[in-house]
Amino acid sequence: MMEDLGDLDSSPYCEPRRRLLDIFCLMSEVDMAVIQPEMMKSYIWIQTTDGAIQQVEQEVAMFCPMICQEVIHKGMGSSKNCAVSLPQRVSPAMFSLILDYCRFHQVPGRSNKERKSFDEKFVRMDTKRLCELTSAADSLQLKPLVDLTSRSLARIIEGKTPEEIREIFHLPDDLTEEEKLEPLKNTTDDPRIRLLNRLYAKKRKELKEREKLKDVEAEEEHVDDRSVDDLLSFINGGDGGMLKPYWKQEIFFSDSKAIKTSKNKKKHRKRKDLQKCAPSNEAIETHKKESNTVSSLCHNVGVDQKLKSSLSETLELQDVADEVFAPRVEFDDVDIDDEIDPALKEEIDREVEDFARILNSDWPERMQELLSLGQERRPTHLSVNGNGALKGHGSMPSFPLNIDHLSQLRIVFSLTPELDEIEEIFIHGRYSSAQNAIFVACNFFKLCDCGHRPESTECQPRRRAG
């Protein structure tokens, strides 16, 4: 819906001003017209590009500045022998058109209305001739005609899609795919690009903020000196660990630099943090079906909301763990609704189970999925080395990772010093969800699924196809 507010210049209250300025311009024009010298009726010899020589009435021909210059400064055109030769770009057909134009406009007595009406009819021609005429008028330096034809060409171009314009003017479609996609401009209407850019900008901002806060919080770090066994007791307790959701395992495996701060505020915030870490299994599913980055992102966001609440529920079961776990980083404040109704809880638990299943499923299959996802969009430069591990290279960013994904990654890799490097890869990589990103990371650093180093014996061994 085009909200055409018009230009302030043309609003009614401005009218009197406008009139005065118009009159001012008119007055100057009238003054100029008086200065034109009188000329006797005579003819000028002109040679067109096809070699033919013709006579043109002087006042008509002299309307063209270029011819005027030739006659006055170089003395040409007085006889057949020294005819003014027209520039290359002025074909005989175009010249006769231009002469029609000059013949009409050089008559001083015409009203503006008449001239305008003539002009409108004059430029009604096909675009091919219009371009030729523009070129010819320009080489004769006939500015009013150039202005007129330029306006017509602009009118033709205005509002059309690139394909239509190419069609009309027979332009070659020779931009490569990459060039077409390059974000040269944000003035297209493509909502996807706008959304992506917006999210990307938001992501960058959040990263910056987190960086700042990381510095701040480093001072507040306290050492948590409970034994590793104590920490692990939560993992091995309860269910067998087989179907335990991925993030439940990881939370308690925080590093020794856990922060101990005041309970109330931090608790809520921790909950929020953890809620946000929920990867979305649904996103993976949908992504298998379509490669539309935006819809998957949107979907991610939508599903994340649901899973956020699910996490709060699961966390309530591990109250004590909250004190153990504390991420190093602040997250931005989002209003989280901590209350969910039982029905929703059921559904969420089911999702959690589904997701755990996917996590623990066949590794080679997941690898395939990753590779295929990468190829559907721009080349991700993912290569598989001999060990079956994926090696990621940095490439042009196109998919903004959600803040949640990265926060989860931090939790997972809180042990690893290569955290920044990982982040770098993920930002520049192209992953449909954090889950995929984590898979890649695990393999990149030869970590197990839980994020433990290969040397560690604490966790369950990587599952293989069985």
Partner: protein, 416 residues
């Protein structure tokens, strides 16, 4: 068979620039997607105009629209490659903000000649000081801005056209601005505050268009001034401050306008001219004045005197427009009218066209029309447009009776 040839891409660069400049900025930038040759054609366009045509508004959220607009302008400025001669920003959703500061700073590093900034809503936008370093500026148009140039500001030495409306600037700033722009030809000044004395010292000034509240207007050194339109938006009739000890405003106004050709006296300005002594004639007639438009109250004696003085002093008038002041027509006029005196004789030797509007058919107004008709031997047309239909028939009856000095005069009565 006619091979399909691309004729447009090979047009000379300046012609392509011209075509792209005419297009709205959105279409111009989109041409970068046409073909290889067109990729960067748009980046040379000398005019950047950001107005309502930048994108179609699909969201109701003002912040979204504004952010999108800021984003687009940032992108375009960054990708643009070449001098920007004209920059225009006039979008209803843009309020004065630091983004504009940033864009002005960017432009100040170039050679912008025409700068137009219309802030539709919100507070006066304080222009950053880098605006005053636009050395090549020829045309400056501002709407809803606050001007506070730095102390080192020496004026725009190339400025020819200054159009500032709804602006705030201090008295010294205004005077300094006008006098330090030696090439100034056109000055438009509407609804200003921060200063009340219009001291105009501009030797090249040709057009002067003012509407606002001011105490005083004086011209110095203005022999080229030919078009003047002044509106005083405040009724100063009973303003004793202004008239105390004042010499004739009418005389002092015209003393420095020897070559004036077109004059519009709007709103309450005629009351200003009525302050002080009102002469019966100007000392020097305005030989070049061929158009005059006056808004006045035909029942007010002083205003009538001023009008009469002016009409007598302009022998070459070709066109007259008289407008009644609607809000003062409720006042019952005197029974004997100013213009009814048959001794008022004045030859309008060149007068061809008369327009009368916003009148209600009072005695004074009718007498004035009668006065004009009987003193204009070459009159071709007089149109009369009353403010309302009331008393229309009476008005027409009277008009019918008036003697006309010109045998070809047409008197046209137009409905309100």
């Amino acid at each position: 068979m006619d091979k399909e040839v691309d004729r447009i891409s090979n047009l000379p660069a300046h012609v392509l620039d011209q075509i792209l400049s005419i297009l709205p900025i959105r279409d111009a930038v989109r041409t970068s997607n046409l073909s290889r040759k067109w990729r960067y054609n748009w980046s040379h366009i000398p005019h950047l105009v950001f107005d309502y045509r930048v994108f179609s508004i699909t969201s109701k959220d003002e912040t979204v629209i504004k952010n999108k607009l800021v984003n687009i302008i940032d992108h375009v400025l960054l990708l643009h490659n070449g001098p920007v001669y004209k920059f225009k920003l006039s979008h209803s959703k843009i309020l004065g903000c630091s983004d504009i500061d940033r864009w002005i700073l960017h432009l100040s590093r170039g050679s912008t000649e025409e700068f137009i900034l219309l802030i539709w809503r919100g507070q006066r936008y304080k222009l950053p000081s880098c605006l005053f370093s636009f050395g090549n500026l020829i045309h400056l148009k501002l709407f809803n801005c606050l001007l506070k140039p730095p102390l080192a500001f020496k004026g725009f030495r190339n400025l020819k056209n200054l159009d500032i409306q709804y602006v705030t600037l201090a008295q010294e700033v205004f005077e300094n601005l006008i006098s330090s722009c030696p090439l100034l030809e056109r000055l438009t000044l509407i609804n200003f505050d921060g200063f009340t004395h219009l001291k105009i010292n501009a030797p090249n000034l040709q057009l002067f268009d003012v509407g606002g509240v001011f105490d005083d207007v004086s011209f110095e050194n203005n022999s080229l001034l030919t078009l003047v339109s002044i509106g005083l938006y405040k009724n100063v009739k009973n303003d004793w401050n202004m008239s105390r000890g004042s010499s004739s405003k009418l005389l002092s106004f015209f003393v420095n306008l020897p070559h004036i050709r077109r004059l519009e006296i709007q709103s309450y300005f005629i009351k200003y001219l009525a302050i002080g002594k009102i002469p019966s004639n100007l000392p020097k007639p305005c030989m070049d004045l061929n158009y005059i438009s006056i808004r006045m109250n035909f029942n007010d004696f002083e205003e009538n005197s001023v009008a009469f003085c002016l009409l007598k002093s302009c022998p070459n008038l070709q066109e007259i427009e008289m407008l009644g002041r609607l809000e003062e027509q409720a006042v019952v006029g005197p029974l004997t009218s100013f213009w009814g005196d048959d001794h008022w004789k004045c030859l309008f030797g060149q007068l061809r066209l008369v327009k009368i509007a916003d009148i209600s058919g009072t005695r004074s107004e009718l007498d004035f029309m009668k006065f004009l008709l009987s003193n204009s031997p070459v009159l071709e047309q007089m149109t009369v447009k009353p403010a309302s239909n009331e008393g229309g028939l009476e008005l027409v009856k009277e008009l019918l009776r008036f003697r006309r000095a010109s045998i070809q005069a047409e008197v046209i009565y137009m409905g309100p």
